[in-house]
Symmetry: C2
Subunit: 355 residues, 2 copies
């Protein structure tokens, strides 16, 4: 009798614990993600979808992320606030959009004359970048992860040729953020205009120039029809998008789902860098074939030198604003200082000697 009761107790315990384990293993987490981009946006939007799909399959439907585009939530630049408030567990955007809230967020996207994408990924994952990014976002209860790289962005579409620093004086250009401040030091007038109005603004001479992304995303905007000079890049050498996660929501996930989410974001972010290369390549070919009138040019070296000087002055000012700002900038400068010599003797030299 006693033996029987004991056996029952063991069986019940086993059943209970395996039921509890099963309940945990079968528990479904339904998350919502808000992205800055419109519905079905190429490359950026694809990155988010691929991440969510991978999480769904890897978790056997235990973590299902639905995506709200800006058409739905109507707040493309509200991602930081919505994820912070827990209205969405996740977001996809770009860290430099939050520079008005916290200047330090700006440095985790890219910066004029900064690192290339590969140098920057090495800095994030092996050179202390991730730690500094988490230190920046931690006070807001947010976790931030690389969210996909566009590669080197083009310097923009210009209606007239830029032959000297004089040509920049008074130039009205859509160029937001850090780079806008750099060109304003050279006498240009940076303006910000919503994406939907850019083509008309350029066509009607409201602006003289604009930068957008690169061949991958520019052609569908139609800029090639109204601005014949397409300048190479200096201001966003490695624009990294961002996955934002509400830290409390992340902490509710079991360890396996946390890892699934982190690795899916990591793989999809890297993928976007490869996909950007692909889209840039096929659309540059399209420019050459279908728009032979477009002239691809690089600013003359004296213009580049002045831009770099203006940039250096701004960087020195930023360093004085806050100890963490100084720490981030110095970490990036140090890393670029050791990574660039390798980039020069490897890929740069190779590109110069090969056909």
């Amino acid at each position: 009798m006693f033996k029987h009761a004991f056996k029952t107790l063991i069986i019940s315990t086993l059943m209970f614990s395996s039921t509890a384990a099963m309940a945990e293993m079968e528990k479904t987490y339904r998350w919502r993600l808000a992205e800055t981009w419109p519905k079905d946006f190429p490359v950026f939007g694809y990155t988010v979808k691929s991440m969510a799909q991978r999480v769904k399959v890897m978790s056997n439907d235990r973590l299902v992320i639905t995506i709200d585009s800006k058409n739905k939530h109507k707040a493309p630049l509200g991602i930081f606030d919505m994820v912070r408030a827990g209205q969405y567990q996740m977001g996809h955007s770009a860290s430099y959009y939050w520079k008005g809230k916290d200047l330090n967020t700006m440095f985790f996207t890219t910066r004029p004359f900064g690192m290339t994408a590969t140098e920057q990924y090495a800095w994030f994952y092996y050179g202390g970048g991730m730690e500094l990014m988490q230190k920046t976002y931690q006070p807001y209860g947010l976790l931030s992860f690389p969210g996909g790289n566009t590669g080197n962005q083009m310097g923009g579409w210009f209606r007239k040729e830029i032959n000297s620093v004089e040509d920049l004086k008074g130039l009205k250009m859509r160029i937001p953020g850090f780079a806008g401040e750099v060109i304003s030091k050279l006498g240009a007038s940076p303006v910000n205009i919503p994406a939907g109005e850019l083509y008309t603004a350029l066509e009607r001479n409201t602006i003289d120039a604009l930068e957008w992304v690169g061949p991958s995303l520019d052609l569908r905007m139609g800029f090639q029809k109204v601005a014949p000079f397409y300048y190479t890049g200096w201001h966003e050498p490695a624009t990294e998008l961002q996955f934002l996660i509400n830290e409390k929501a992340f902490n509710t996930l079991p360890k396996d789902l946390q890892e699934i989410l982190v690795i899916a974001m990591r793989a999809s972010a890297y993928d976007m860098y490869a996909q950007s290369m692909h889209e840039n390549a096929i659309n540059l070919e399209k420019i050459h074939k279908e728009h032979p009138e477009i002239q691809i040019k690089t600013f003359p070296s004296n213009v580049m030198l002045k831009l770099q000087q203006a940039n250096d002055e701004l960087i020195e000012q930023f360093k004085k604003s806050d100890p963490l700002t100084k720490e981030i900038i110095e970490s990036q400068e140090h890393y670029q200082g050791i990574a660039r010599p390798w980039t020069r003797i490897s890929d740069q030299t190779y590109l110069e000697i090969s056909q």
Copy 2:
């Protein structure tokens, strides 16, 4: 009574199916992976460990991969055969090691004057490369995946300076594979020597030069002590390692574990490219600081031209060997042809104009 029996039936069915589901969800797969590298090999070995660790955590211990290094299995170049035979479910090696079994495997690692790492990742994932690689491995019952990129490899350590094509004549150099055939067309004598004997061979003049990887892995070999000329690369612009999987073993895994494995390999492979940048950067700095006598040089342009011509001739011969060889080479040539113009106006131009 009937109602009661029906209820019991439903409950039993539910219990059975959830028990079956639970059994499936709790089933543990124990896999073995054989790698070409010795135990605790830096960068390459780290990539394999990180992949296995990610799989373990994401699968909640349902897929556990143990790693056998060459010290254990004693067959560093037997990975293809062992995975094919099912002796190991997985391997980590480099596709070009199997060129003796099947020439087509050679093209999925890198080739002289070929694509850069970013161009090549874009080709693999968006330009048809993965499909051609699977077509190549399918007859062997194997699945092949990118396994990590070293970045552009250095051209090697030379005891004497190379000033003209004449200096290559009779030069004994450890340089395996495709590149060895290229330099032999210029009169050099390519030899293959096991890694453990390389330093002594170079020190004792058994060979005049050798190529290994890059600063990331070369310094620990000690070559800088006996060969003062370190030449930049042309022969392996983007060496991609390889994860090999026995297809039958892969098909036994449930869908979620298949996806976990594929995404873990993908993230860890990309990571290796970033880690290689990091290790190359810090070790190049070390060369400059601790070995200032080392001269980093690039072959003169007439030597590069002759190497490229010899390479083009070989490529034309390979194209004639087999329809799939031709398809692979033409796919790569086409892709490099559209990707390189973008690389030139983006990263190359940027590197030239920035400090």
